[in-house]
């Protein structure tokens, strides 16, 4: 968007105005009335009245802001100003269902009034009440063809209500089409608004849940207060909660802005759980969820943000290009086409681009990469108009509709075209103009002063905003014009050229004016001589023709993969009806112990039995495992990979946050864990809080969606943290182990008070109804042993203190984790029934970890404590068998050593009814090893989860080959699509030309 274009946009203001609806306007007219007719006929155009509807040589009649007639060959009515549209195309004005119009920044010092305790909750903000948009954005969006937008506020998590506004230059009172129709919500907080909490994705989700619930409570609380005749003190006032009233009843759409496929899934689930009416601002990754999106009717508004090509300019750079990035580079421009092909309704937005200048080129790229122009037009007109409830007046060119039009030179979707004018409600806004006088071509000029020169040839070429040229004085060498520029409205040219063109030192100044084929002007020579000249055009200028936009990106065979990255799967592995693993050393980790020459039979994802010489059911998949070892799938009760964030550290106590809300399947570690035999892990909240968030149990079902990783029916556990980590924030209580103990204790007391309040209400039903508090409810769940405590800590003292606190309040500590000093209180843990989850050999990395011993697990086992190993580390979680093997050197017997990553781990985290051993009825999670699983020299050959083979060395080899194939093809594609001289063009060869440059 050049400066000239913006200026054109502004200067078009005075062309006309609408007065027909004067009766619905309140502002008195001062001074003289502006009564331009507002009556126009656009004649001779190619008119695309709607998707798939084209009229040629057609006329559109506009009067008083509305279209009054449209038809092919229609004569212009008398009285209308006639606009010759020959050679031009007219489209319906575009509608952007997600526009950032600015004007929503908080005032200095923050928002005032009773809004909400959390500065990120600004649901009370109204884009209508605060309509004061940024004129630069308005003009920029309009110049792309948009006449109407949904202005969506952008500050905070709950951002306020979005309004449909028109992009005219009329006053704000005349621009609102639909006020405050949807509540805008985003998963990314605005740092400018401040506030400590939330500072993580799961904290954000928790805040959303709590706020939805508060908004449901708020009107009830006030109603109770009013109904009582104001016989008590009132509930708190919150404009934010008041504003969300309709949304939480499903009566007003909640517009989720998503920045990733995971966020879309989270938003969808929240909408379901809280019975909201969701709209979605998409993120460009929808092609990864095509199967999920199919059949979903909710509004989905996708950006055209296409990534730059990964850097492959050197062998080392190419070696560092990930398949994930390469695929996204290739597939992102096909995102709209894939949505269209799958029949998913979607609109296109100009939002989400780093510069609005990318919009039209990217739109053409999307079309070149498979999006039908009609679908593209629909996604910019009829589809969003319908969703915004303005389809009766917007979206197509038809009599009676608002006169919102886009006039282009060339096909907007398939050619390097440009927008000439955008009409909004009958007012024309010029965007670009064709040159009125074009001085380009070859001119022969003769001078009036033969002392200066006699004749010369002047050549002028290039785009009009950057013209260049040469001058060749007869008998001399041709030289370049320097600093040449023209005014196309008048055809006046100014330039300089070196004096050497006429044999003088210095610079020569040249001025000239063009009229038709004639050229008049004067030169000022370095020696002081001025001379006039005149000339004629001897050759017309032939610029490059307007090209159809084609993609330079070669067509590749890139299968759908989940996740869309290295080793991604094209489909979930099948579950054979029966699997019989024959003749292995089977470590059942159950009553049968370790069996030689044994068979493992699995049916429908469950273990049937382990025994010798079992009979294969008909059709069973048989695996000869002679010489191999078979163990249960390994378990790691403490990892942090596979979630979007780890710590919600905004508050010291955050049990309301749930790691299960933020599982991400775009995590290569799940695959690597499978490769090391790991099938079950608990992904934990971080250790920044005395009471952290709720953990999530997953199986390593690589290739699944986030929710499919979770183990349904698993116990609920919450992370506690003791010691150095939760006390290290200097500005947040607590700062000592004493304070850690007290803040936990105080919250248990608070939860008891909360329960009392509810019990009183349930009994009496008088007064203001209490509010549901997710944090308090979580703590009550801990007290009720529905939520088990899994506590991080190192030292014996802090663990012992927590064990005693648990006894005082009657909650259950399921596991103590890390427990570098757990051995010091082994007997106490045994007595209290607390399981220990420890490392094999970590220690000394900080003060509280200094008293470590590799005999920790051994000592705990000697005392009879249920003992498991854990990793707390992505790398180590991929080799838990070797971690268990290290215990051999402390004298632990083999089966007992393996138990610390299988059956005892399962018992420690209370899922031993499902996993951890190869016993009848357990999940068929097992690993086939090429030797003793506890040996450093052994590796996993196959890993099965739920009776499905999720990993095998053989398949791994094939996946590596496929990864290599895709990478090399994509790297070649990047090189092919990248202009040799410059930076990658992101699959989009089309570059906007300067104004008037294409004729």
């Amino acid at each position: 968007m050049s400066v000239t274009r913006f200026l054109l946009g502004l200067t078009a203001l005075a062309v006309s105005s609408i007065e027909a609806q004067q009766s619905s306007r309140t502002q008195p007219i001062t001074g003289l009335r502006d009564n331009a007719t507002g009556y126009h006929a656009l004649v001779g155009a190619r008119v695309v009245t709607g998707p798939g509807q084209v009229l040629t040589n057609a006329t559109v009649v506009v009067r008083n802001g509305l279209i009054t007639a449209v038809g092919a060959g229609l004569a212009a009515p008398s009285g209308a100003r006639v606009w010759d549209m020959k050679g031009l195309t007219v489209y319906p004005g575009f509608v952007d269902a997600s526009a950032d119009m600015g004007g929503d920044a908080p005032p200095q010092g923050g928002d005032v009034g009773p809004t909400h305790w959390n500065p990120q909750v600004r649901a009370w903000f109204s884009t209508t009440a605060n309509l004061k948009d940024d004129s630069t954005r308005r003009i920029a969006l309009r110049s792309l063809g948009f006449g109407t937008v949904l202005a969506v506020p952008r500050q905070g998590i709950f951002r306020g209500s979005a309004s449909v506004v028109t992009l005219s230059e009329a006053g704000v009172r005349e621009r609102v089409l639909r006020p405050d129709i949807a509540q805008s919500i985003a998963f990314q907080r605005s740092f400018a608004l401040g506030g400590m909490y939330p500072n993580s994705s799961m904290g954000t989700t928790a805040l959303m849940k709590q706020t939805f619930m508060d908004a449901e409570w708020y009107p009830r609380a006030w109603a109770a207060y009013e109904a009582s005749g104001r016989a008590s003190l009132p509930p708190e006032t919150s404009e934010a909660l008041a504003a969300l009233g309709k949304a939480v009843k499903g009566q007003q759409p909640v517009y989720f802005e998503t920045t990733s496929e995971e966020e879309y899934l989270r938003a969808y689930k929240l909408a379901q759980d809280y019975k909201l009416t969701p709209w979605f601002r998409g993120n460009g990754q929808e092609y990864r969820l095509i199967d999920v999106l199919k059949g979903r009717p909710q509004p989905l508004v996708v950006p055209l943000a296409f990534p730059d090509a990964p850097n492959v300019s050197s062998p080392e750079a190419a070696a560092n290009a990930t398949l994930s990035d390469l695929r996204h580079w290739y597939l992102a421009p096909t995102n709209p086409a894939q949505l269209a092909a799958a029949g998913v309704p979607f609109a296109i937005t100009a939002d989400g681009l780093s510069s609005l200048q990318q919009f039209l080129p990217n739109l053409r790229t999307a079309v070149a990469r498979g999006l039908a122009p009609d679908k593209a037009l629909a996604a910019l007109t009829t589809v969003p108009a319908t969703w915004l409830g303005i389809d009766k007046s917007h979206g197509t060119i038809a009599a009676g509709k608002a006169a919102n039009l886009v006039v282009t030179a060339g096909d907007l979707f398939t050619e390097e075209s440009e927008v000439r004018d955008v009409w909004v409600q009958g007012v024309r806004y010029g965007v670009t103009r064709p040159p009125q006088v074009d001085p380009r071509g070859t001119w022969t000029i003769t001078s009036s002063d033969p002392g200066a020169f006699t004749s010369a040839i002047v050549r002028i070429e290039g785009p009009l905003n950057r013209i260049r040229g040469t001058i060749e004085i007869s008998g001399k060498r041709s030289v370049n014009l320097t600093s040449a520029r023209i005014t196309t409205e008048t055809g006046r040219l100014e330039a300089t050229f070196p004096g050497e063109a006429i044999g003088l030192e210095g610079s020569t100044l040249l001025a000239g004016s063009v009229r038709d084929q004639e050229f008049f002007g004067w030169v000022s020579l370095p020696n002081g001589t001025d001379a006039t000249y005149r000339g004629t055009r001897t050759e017309a200028y032939e610029g490059p023709a307007r090209g159809a936009v084609a993609s330079r990106v070669p067509k590749l065979d890139l299968p759908f993969m989940r996740p869309s990255m290295e080793f991604g799967r094209t489909a979930a592995p099948p579950q054979p009806a029966a699997v019989l693993v024959r003749n292995a050393t089977v470590w059942t980790q159950g009553a049968q112990g370790k069996m030689q020459n044994a068979d493992l039979l699995v049916q429908a994802g469950k273990v049937v039995r382990v025994g010798q010489k079992l009979t294969a059911p008909a059709g069973a998949t048989e695996i000869d495992a002679t010489g191999k070892h078979v163990t249960p799938g390994l378990i790691d009760p403490h990892t942090h990979s596979g979630v979007s964030d780890v710590n919600e550290s905004g508050f010291a106590i955050v049990p309301e946050v749930q790691m299960g809300d933020v599982v991400t399947h775009n995590n290569i570690w799940f695959y690597r864990q499978l490769a090391g035999g790991l099938t079950t892990t608990m992904i934990k909240h971080g250790s920044a809080n005395p009471i952290g968030g709720e953990n999530v149990y997953v199986k390593t079902r690589w290739g699944s969606l986030p929710d499919e990783y979770k183990i349904t029916g698993a116990p609920r556990t919450v992370k506690f943290a003791l010691g150095e980590n939760p006390k290290r924030s200097p500005t947040r209580y607590p700062n000592t182990r004493m304070g850690v103990q007290e803040i936990i204790r105080d919250h248990f007391l608070a939860a008891r008070d909360y329960r009392k309040e509810w019990q009183r209400w349930e009994k009496e039903k008088t007064g203001i109804p209490p509010r549901r508090d997710l944090r308090m409810e979580a703590i009550l769940d801990i007290l009720d042993q529905k939520l088990l405590v899994s506590s991080h800590g190192y030292r014996a003292d802090e663990f012992l203190a927590l064990v005693r606190l648990a006894e005082e309040f009657g909650f259950r500590i399921q596991t103590l984790q890390h427990g570098v000093e757990a051995f010091k209180i082994a007997s106490e843990l045994k007595a209290s029934g607390v399981a220990a989850v420890v490392w094999s050999d970590w220690g000394a990395f900080k003060m509280e970890a200094y008293d470590n011993t590799t005999y920790n697990a051994r000592l705990l086992m000697e005392a009879g404590v249920v003992t498991s190993l854990h990793s707390d580390n992505a790398e180590i979680s991929t080799r838990m068998n070797w971690e268990a093997g290290k215990l051999l050197r402390t004298g632990v017997e083999e089966v007992a050593a393996l138990s610390t990553v299988t059956n005892q781990s399962a018992k420690a985290i209370a899922i031993d009814n499902r996993v951890g051993s190869l016993e009848a009825g357990k999940d068929a999670d097992f690993v086939i090893w090429n030797g003793n699983p506890l040996s450093q020299f052994t590796k996993a050959e196959q890993t099965w989860v739920d009776g499905r083979r999720y990993f095998s060395l053989e398949e791994d080899k094939a996946l590596r080959a496929e990864t290599a194939r895709q990478r090399s093809q994509l790297i070649q594609a990047v090189l092919a699509a990248t202009p040799a001289e410059g930076t990658p063009a992101a699959g989009a060869p089309a570059r906007p030309r300067g104004p008037g440059g294409s004729r």
Binding site: I668, A675, A844, G891, T963
Partner: protein, 462 residues
């Protein structure tokens, strides 16, 4: 096996069961030894005073094959003889029957911080990074805490020789070869200035303030380009060479301890170990090292496979420090790091494997080498990578790294390969001394078995 004053290591070794009866058997065997409870940590033993003959074991010499039912004689700290069952045993020798056991040379960790670090997050307990980018004169040995807990646990894993190494800046300083036995660093030191360490700049790094990270919170000069950083290294070596030449030619120069410390590296009497991970880094480091004429060793070598042909052709050895690391790039297989030694071996590149996790975890060195076996490296090559190769690259192969007559009597008596946890290291010798096998981990085990014993008989109600 010995008559040590304190708890005997072999009885210390825990029983292989978790049942109660075994528990008490164990307690009886450990705690009834006089003085056991007083012995909190390993005891240092005096230098070898009489010959020892270890008889009946399978001897893995590393360089001279394997001898079954062999005999090895240690005298005055060195290996006096190696042979079969019939090897003559000197008069007065203590004869130890190790029938059925295996004898390996003590493992050598080519890159460690053992002795110069104690607690990771406690800055004051770490003496690894000196301030500033150019510290060629700092020498690890003088900062080695002979009482560090990690020395004992490292020894227990079979690692008996460690190259403790400064890490900061660009020219980090001199690593020292240490025997992990002795009352003081002086007694432990085998070679105080064993190698000069250089950290190669990263051409792909985004420019940052300062270079080399001379210290926390230090306001550095404006960021330097990669070329400038490389030139800086060249300049330092150039200056050092000029200094050496001036000194050599007898000119009256003012002393400069930094350049003086670089002279052995310039002369090729000690190697220059260059930390380099990426392919471009490794390539540029080789180009530089060859032009400089130094005895070059690459350390790190994450992308060594990209440079394998050149490493072989230019005869540059690599000390791998990340065989247990995550694959650098997602498209590399899950075993990218595990399988790299096998691939380098196939490509003919010379390499050692070093502990990648610093002094706190030097006891993991055997696994760093063992993992390569699981992914295709012949076991004997894995063993070489933590013995003779490390010793050879860093210039102490005349002393350790293999079991050969004349080398130091630094060895392990084991039930099998030290690289696999399915076998145990039962006793080690350093310079002919039968060292005490106690360490802090075992000490805590002993002490807290006593607590369990005291508390178990009481009936506890869950």
């Amino acid at each position: 096996m010995s008559s040590s004053l304190i708890t005997h290591p072999s009885t210390m070794r825990p029983m292989t069961t978790t049942t109660k009866s075994a528990l008490f058997a164990l307690l009886a065997s450990t705690l009834l030894v006089p003085g056991a409870v007083r012995a909190q940590e390993r005891m240092t033993v005096p230098p070898q005073d009489k010959p020892v003959a270890l008889r009946g074991a399978t001897i893995h010499t590393v360089t001279k094959g394997t001898i079954t039912n062999g005999t090895i004689v240690l005298d005055r700290g060195r290996i006096a003889a190696i042979g079969g069952a019939d090897l003559a045993i000197p008069n007065g020798a203590r004869v130890v029957d190790v029938t059925g056991k295996h004898i390996y040379p003590g493992l050598v960790d080519a890159y460690s911080t053992v002795g110069i670090t104690e607690i990771g997050a406690v800055d004051v307990s770490n003496d690894i990074n000196e301030l500033g980018d150019f510290n060629p004169n700092v020498r690890a040995e003088v900062a080695v805490n002979a009482e560090s807990r990690h020395i004992g646990t490292t020894r227990s894993a079979g690692v008996l020789v460690s190259f403790s190494t400064p890490e900061g800046g660009v020219i980090s300083g001199l690593s020292s070869a240490l025997n992990l036995e002795g009352w003081t660093w002086e007694e432990m030191s085998m070679k105080g200035a064993a190698a000069l360490n250089v950290r190669w700049p990263d051409p792909n790094a985004r420019p940052r303030r300062g270079f080399g990270g001379g210290g926390r919170g230090q306001a550095g000069p404006p960021p330097k380009t990669y070329a400038e950083q490389v030139q800086q290294i060249k300049d330092w070596f150039g200056e050092a060479r000029a200094y050496r030449d001036a000194v050599k030619s007898g000119q009256d120069v003012r002393t400069d301890s930094r350049y003086a410390a670089m002279i052995p590296a310039l002369e090729g009497t000690i190697p220059v170990v260059v930390a380099a991970e990426g392919a471009a880094q490794i390539n540029d480091a080789i180009t530089w090292g060859k032009a400089e004429g130094v005895k070059l060793v690459i350390r790190g070598g994450r992308d060594a496979l990209f440079v394998a042909d050149r490493l072989k052709a230019e005869n540059v050895p690599v000390i791998l420090t990340s065989t247990m690391a995550a694959p650098e790039r997602d498209y590399e297989g899950y075993d990218g790091a595990y399988a790299m030694p096998a691939k380098l071996y196939a490509a003919g590149v010379k390499f050692a494997i070093a502990g990648g996790s610093g002094g706190l975890y030097s006891n993991r060195l055997p696994w760093d080498a063992g993992v390569a076996v699981a992914f295709g490296l012949p076991e004997e090559e894995a063993l070489k990578s933590v013995t003779i190769n490390a010793a050879t690259f860093l210039g102490i192969a005349d002393k350790v790294g293999s079991l050969e007559v004349g080398k130091e009597g630094t060895l392990l008596i084991t039930t099998g390969t030290p690289l696999d946890m399915t076998s145990n290291i039962e006793q080690s010798y350093i310079q002919g001394r039968e060292i005490n096998m106690m360490d802090i981990h075992k000490w805590f085990f002993q002490k807290y078995m006593e607590k369990i014993k005291q508390q178990t008989p009481k009936k506890v109600v869950p």
